[in-house]
Amino acid sequence: MNRIVETDAPEAFAQELAQVSNILPRRIEANPDNVDKGLAKLVLTLIELIRKLMEKQAMRRVENGSLTDEEIERVGETLMKLEQKMGELKQVFGLKDEDLNLHLGPLGDLM
């Protein structure tokens, strides 16, 4: 078989593909020693997903001009506070932004 494996940037690809394969744990780590952190990670991941969806929807509505100035102010304040609170919780449980994701097998990543 005349197999070709060709690239003009082997190191760059090695780096990116390592990121793809290592980006996420394959399961939620929950054992007696880290059950708090495992659960916090799951809960915060879901909150982060909802927060991002809310933010995206808000931005679409800002773009379409379908929010009043007051509503924009209120949404902005809510999203800002939610982001601050998420930052505090991540700090408490020693989680980083990249920890807040889940691998859903054939469906891909949650976020």
Binding site: N2, E6, D8, F13, E16, M59, E73, L79, M80
Partner: protein, 259 residues
């Protein structure tokens, strides 16, 4: 002792020359209804497999591919006995036949493309019209400023996605003509613009390779990783089963899972 399975293929013929698999064990076949499963015996404490074993698995599947159409099994698939392999083949015979018919005389090519995300983003930012103070009803309060910042990021993200889609469509257009099936994944990381696999008729692979060579020769800021032909790892379609697998199959999660 377990049976390590490499692939199912549309041949029941014994190999003309000896083929060695994991731990240099001879690869044999278990025939069933015009098909066969290629296997070798595996005697290993704990049954742990490593990167070298993956290379042997790949080498065996490639060798099989020169003999027949193959449905490669997931690396690490073990069965307890020949009887269990036969049961698995009987259970999946229709799906195997469908896949073998669909993948006959077809090979897989892989294409990965990097783009310079940071410099593309800089260009995107430069192309944005200057933000008007108070535009979109965004005030100067802390919440308004927050929304303005997030809205700016949202717009940049939208434009980056548009640019990514444009470039991916341009790349894909070059290969579509020679492609039977394809799977495209975009932006798995900020720099990995495209991860694609293409299913190509065996007798069209030279044209497919030429399409890549033509693209690769052009100046541009994209970097490519192109490989193939491979066994059709990414194009075997197996239906998901909700019922549990047979309890006496070793390594249940992978026992009947094709790649």
């Amino acid at each position: 002792m377990s049976l390590y399975i490499y692939a199912v293929m549309d041949s029941e013929l014994e190999f003309a020359a000896p083929l060695l698999g994991l731990d240099c064990s001879p690869v044999g076949i278990i025939a069933c209804g015009g098909m066969s499963a290629a296997f070798s015996n595996l005697e290993r404490a704990g049954g742990r497999l490593g990167p070298d074993d993956a290379l042997v698995h790949e080498a065996v599947v490639e060798k099989l591919m020169t003999i027949a159409t193959v449905l490669p099994f997931r690396f690490g698939t073990l069965f307890a006995s020949q009887k269990e392999v036969l049961i698995m083949m009987v259970e999946h015979v229709t799906e195997f036949r469908e896949n073998l018919a669909r993948l006959r005389h077809r090979v897989e090519f892989s294409l990965k493309v990097l783009w310079p995300a940071e410099s593309v983003e800089r260009q995107v930012v430069q192309s944005l019209p200057p933000a008007k103070s108070g535009g979109h009803g965004l005030s100067n309060s802390a919440a308004g400023q927050y929304m303005a910042k997030r809205f700016g990021a949202f717009r940049i993200n939208q434009l980056m996605e548009t640019e990514a889609n444009r470039r991916i469509a341009e790349i894909d257009r070059r290969f579509s003509r020679w492609t039977v099936e394809k799977k495209l994944e975009r932006l798995l990381t900020p720099n990995l613009l495209l991860k694609a696999v293409y299913l190509v008729e065996t007798d069209r692979q030279e044209e497919f390779k030429q399409a890549y060579a033509d693209m690769q020769r052009e100046d541009g800021d994209l970097r490519y990783l192109f490989s193939g032909p491979w066994p059709p790892y990414n194009f075997v379609r197996m239906r998901q089963r909700s019922e549990p697998q047979r309890s006496d199959v070793i390594n249940k999660p992978t026992a009947v899972t094709l790649l």
